[in-house]
């Protein structure tokens, strides 16, 4: 049977594409259901087509407030974690010093711990200190768990950097600051950008740690969580779809810039 033989030969490709379909299916459902006009409080079954939610994405109480809170936290958390993480990554790759092993483990541990454990322990700290739960406690928590991921991303890039480029800069009488700004930073930039993007995505999407430490503040994931109990407005799907489209566009634009740079470098 030629058909069977074809399937056997392309088994990996078929299996891979099926996995890809499994991964994208919920996004398609989210997109389709953003055009639904639900009957009742929950948007789980298809009723009829409507553009209402797209016309009025902020039409649900507290939704856009939670969105803006999440964006603010993600912005500051990204800034904090990227700054601190980049410094740590450079120290770990470029210098030999005592306690290097211990520090590497300290960086690794937050990634090797179930989120709920970190969330709960951080809450005991804040309760013991009598801290007011809200924006600041969430920001502190987000910088904490994003830090390790930034370090890992930047470290990978810095490790693959050729130290001879910096030596060459020094040989050409560039000062340490000049070498860093003109040579080191541009080469490390993709790693730092990857770390920052990861931090932003992790912070924006985090639910478990935020849920423990937010007090009465409501971030976007917490709003969605609450809506699963109270009723899910279609606007949630609109925002989910918009996020997906913006992300894809950003990646495409990035790719375009990278391609253009490559062809410029070649010519």
């Amino acid at each position: 049977m030629p058909a069977l033989r074809w399937i056997r030969r392309n088994l990996v490709v078929i299996a891979g594409l099926l996995t890809l379909a499994y991964m994208i299916l919920p996004n398609i459902v989210v997109m389709v259901f953003s055009f639904n006009k639900p009957n009742g409080r929950f948007n789980y079954s298809w009723q009829r087509f409507s553009l209402d939610a797209w016309k009025d994405p902020c039409g649900v109480a507290d939704l856009c407030g939670s969105l803006s809170l999440s964006l603010q936290i993600a912005f500051w958390a990204t800034l904090g974690a990227t700054a601190l993480g980049t410094m740590v990554a450079f120290a770990l790759v470029r210098y030999r010093f005592r306690a290097r092993g211990a520090i590497s483990s300290l960086i690794f541990l937050p990634m090797a711990m179930p989120e709920v454990v970190m969330a709960a322990s951080l809450l005991t700290l804040f309760l013991n200190m009598g801290a007011q739960l809200g924006f600041w406690t969430v920001l502190i928590a987000h910088i904490m768990f994003c830090l390790s991921f930034v370090v890992t991303a930047v470290k990978a890039r810095v490790m693959s950097m050729d130290p001879r480029l910096e030596e060459a800069a020094r040989d050409l009488y560039a000062g340490p600051v000049q070498t860093f700004v003109r040579v080191t930073l541009p080469i490390a930039a993709p790693g730092i950008a990857a770390g920052a993007l990861l931090a932003f995505a992790l912070s924006f999407d985090d639910f478990i740690i935020t849920n423990f430490n937010a007090g009465s503040s409501v971030t976007f994931p917490m709003f969605v969580w609450g809506s699963a109990q109270r009723g899910t407005p279609v606007q949630i799907n609109v925002i989910g779809t918009a996020m997906f489209i913006i992300a894809v566009l950003m990646v495409l634009v990035g790719q375009l810039i990278a391609n253009r740079r490559k062809s410029n470098a070649r010519s």
Binding site: L20, Y44, M113, P114, F207, I208, A247
Partner: protein
């Protein structure tokens, strides 16, 4: 955290007037770079664990206040009351990890070796779903697995649900609110954490090794078994850890897609902490979970022989 605090003791004697000398100053650079980040992790990651340890051996109530009484009985009671949730968490997380590996490997392989000029597109398609909040996507599974929906109908027609119900994974004609729905959600949510490390380690494999295996008359299956898979082990280990650890503590999938019979230990910790306000029990549970996961991870890393991963 302020950056102005003293750095950890430098290798030389700080009181020496030589501090201005470039060599000493240079030796201090790594400590200054590390200071803010490490301080942050010590204060907001390590110190909280100490606080939690102390909370777990306290007794008292919210009204009268808690006191450290070295009451280790809390651990025994917590285990006795909640061992089903513990076992369930490890079971669900383990199943989801194995499913992630089985589903993720072909896709990672496809991206690394077969995608050609489509590689970047497929990579984008793997990462892009991430940007829709995972809670929204998990809620979408409610629609997909809904009673009387297309998926349930197909599984019913194929008599798959008869088998899974017999195994206790589903209830007659239902997928939603059963263990299968929870495992499906867990697998879905943590798949990218499996695929990306797998892809990175597969991509590093020299294509000439495949040619060499072919030249030595190895069939594709043998090449995979003897060359590709062993070389991808670092990715397999990293991927399984990145899937299993967060999955074992997750309670979102169990709460949104499951029922009271599928509660995982994360749910218990959450409700003890935020609703029942029984902090000692919650802290003890969270400590047991951490210990179990760390022990399993250490053992697994030792066994798989990729200690350089950490």
């Amino acid at each position: 955290m302020s950056v102005t605090e003293a750095p950890p003791a430098p290798p030389s004697h700080p009181e020496e007037p030589k501090l201005r000398k470039p060599s000493t100053r240079k030796r201090l650079i790594p400590y200054w770079l590390l200071l803010p980040g490490i301080l942050w992790l010590v204060v907001f990651f390590a110190l909280p664990l100490v606080y939690q340890a102390s909370t777990s051996v306290q007794t008292g109530s919210l009204e009268e206040g808690f006191e450290v009484t070295w009451h280790f009985q809390t651990y025994v009671d917590a285990l006795r009351d909640y061992y089903p949730q513990f076992i369930r968490s490890l079971l669900y997380a383990g199943t989801a990890t194995i499913l992630c590996l089985l589903l993720g490997y072909p896709l990672a392989y496809l991206i690394a070796f077969k995608a050609g000029r489509w590689r970047n597109l497929v990579l984008v398609l793997v990462i892009a779903p991430f940007f829709t909040s995972f809670l929204i996507r998990t809620l979408a599974w409610k629609t997909i697995l809904a009673d009387g929906g297309a998926v349930v109908d197909v599984l019913n027609t194929l008599h798959v649900l008869d088998v899974t119900s017999w195994l206790g994974w589903t209830e007659s004609n239902r997928v939603l609110a059963t263990p299968m729905a929870v495992v499906c959600g867990l697998t879905y949510n943590f798949l990218p954490f499996m695929i990306l490390p797998l892809y990175t380690s597969l991509e590093r494999i020299d294509g000439r090794l495949h040619e060499a295996a072919g030249d030595l008359y190895a069939t594709p299956a043998t090449t995979f078994r003897k060359v590709t898979f062993p070389l991808s082990m670092p990715g397999v280990v990293a991927g399984t850890l990145l899937t299993f650890i967060p999955a074992s503590g997750d309670y979102v999938n169990a709460e949104l897609l499951g029922s009271t019979d599928t509660k995982m230990v994360g749910s218990v910790i959450q409700s003890q902490f935020l609703r029942v306000l029984d902090y000692p029990t919650a802290a003890a549970l969270s400590f047991i979970l951490m210990a179990v996961v760390l022990l399993m991870v250490t053992f697994y890393i030792r066994r798989s022989g990729t200690e350089d991963l950490v």
